[in-house]
């Protein structure tokens, strides 16, 4: 059993390499139940790598990832989802030749709670009415914004306690970015903890309570979002002065 104060997710000295290149050089951070925590950083800083390591998609070289008191290294990716980590991957990873509904249905693959599943469809459609209008449309023909909604909706359908989001704002018009972030806050208020990876530091720091700045595989700055927005280094590098 975990103690009441223990973080939901604790990453300790995580090292990940691609061949000879060290993508993560021993990073540590925590996410507590109910929080939105953001990892910001430039391209290639290791943000997506961090999420992929948490989901078990790439091997960990050193360090530990503890979720809900369990060491995730012992679990394959599909089991990690069942433990309660949803992941909307970079580039959205939707199933392009299947319909919107089939995409959502696939996310319930390992779930056996039929009544709850129906409620969750309702919830996704309430959050994203656009998806309900297009539920029989082939997902590959959706616009970028709708595909992102679908990726978030699909992550919701796996019903994790922790949701990993990889650049939900990527390639979207500003108004859609606003929309997605509004929904993320709603999802969070309903009880889902969120770990958000973003290049759009401006938006990310608005919704998150704490943040970490990742630079070439190391965490250089961390703190509450208020502190980060005032930090001169963060301001200059990520918020445009």
């Amino acid at each position: 059993m975990m103690t009441p104060d223990a973080p939901l997710l604790s990453v300790q000295d995580l090292v990940v390499s691609y061949g000879n290149i060290k993508a993560l050089r021993g990073i540590s951070f925590e996410v507590h139940e109910g929080e939105i925590v953001t990892l910001i950083g430039a391209n290639g800083a290791g943000k997506s790598t961090t999420l992929r390591a948490i989901s078990g998609l790439i091997p960990i070289e050193d360090g530990r990832i503890i979720f809900d008191g369990k060491d995730l290294r012992a679990y394959p990716p599909h089991r990690i989802v069942e433990l309660g980590i949803s992941h909307a991957p970079e580039g959205r990873g939707i199933f392009g030749t299947l319909t919107v509904m089939e995409n959502l249905k696939l996310a319930t693959y390992a779930r056996r709670d039929k009544d709850e599943i129906q409620k969750d469809y309702r919830r996704v459609f309430d959050l994203f009415p656009r998806l309900e209008e297009r539920k029989n449309q082939i997902a590959g023909t959706l616009s970028g914004g709708e595909q992102q909604m679908l990726a978030v909706g699909r992550a919701l359908m796996t019903r994790g306690r922790l949701m990993l989001l990889d650049e939900p704002s990527m390639g979207l018009a500003p108004i859609l970015v606003q929309e997605i972030f509004r929904v993320l806050q709603e999802i969070n208020q309903a009880g889902t903890t969120i770990l958000l990876v973003e290049q759009n530091a401006h938006m990310a720091l608005q919704v998150a309570s704490r943040g970490y700045v990742l630079e070439t595989g190391s965490i250089t700055v961390q703190g509450t979002t208020q502190a980060l927005t005032k930090d001169p280094k963060v301001k200059e590098a990520y918020l445009g002065g």
Binding site: S55, H87, G93, L98
Partner: protein
Amino acid sequence: MNRRWWLPLILALLFLLSILLPHFGILNLYLQQVLMYVGINIILTISLNLVNGYMGEFSVGHAGFMAIGAYISSLLTVWVFPKSWGPFVFPLVLILGGLGAALAGLIVAFPSFKTRGDYLAIVTLAFNMIIKSVLENIEAIGGPRGFMGMSKLTNVAWVYVWVLITIFAIRNFVFSAYGRGILSIREDEVAAELVSVNTRQTKILAFVISSFFAGIAGGLFAHVLQFINPRSFTILKSTDVLVMVYLGGIGSIMGSILGASIYTILLELLRPLGVWRWVVGPLLLVILMVTRPRGIMGLREARWLLPAEEVQADAAVTS
């Protein structure tokens, strides 16, 4: 309520015809033979479509699994069971052949699916060649001269029944929750893992099922021809099956039925052209691929094969 009441009726009627037409000599032996080849090719094509079409992997050694089914079933009917038992043990013999092929499928799949991408093509290609060489070098079962002595146990009705079993099994598998996992692997393997599909296990299972039915087809084939040799199961045979899969369209059972039927009958019709049919047939194929790159059905499915809820969903969209 059930709008499909006619489907079992038609299938039963066809079954009756598959017994009666040959029995009263309305279909001559040649036509029966062609029909049986069509059926066997349908089984091969649907089973390969499971791996190459629905799952999006690329297996090129289907004839290898067919060979295993053919040899095991032939050895059983000729050496193990008395000849007079033949018609009664035939289903069992076919299933044993299928299980042998499935076991081989498991052995191939186990290491292959540790990696991603094109490795399966290389491994299955090698497997096909190994099977052929092994069969050629076992003198006890005829070596390169082949094996014979089987009774003509396969008939139109049996082929028809096995085609139905194949369609039923693979169609239900594909539309099951587990089968949806197969589609997700084709679409995006990483995303599949992120919706908690055990991708490795799913791939192995699909491959084993596919191999099983290839083995069944092999057994049927051996007992039509009553003679098999290793050269019947080379990479050329595998290529034929690939052609039928892509001609009919990936990810579609109806496509496989059409692809196998059209290709088999076409090559039969072109027989008078002699060697030239191997030019005309493939040429038609090239033309079809240029004008219709996704094959005849191309990811679409015939209505009668869709689950009722999907038909309703379709109706809801159009109304």
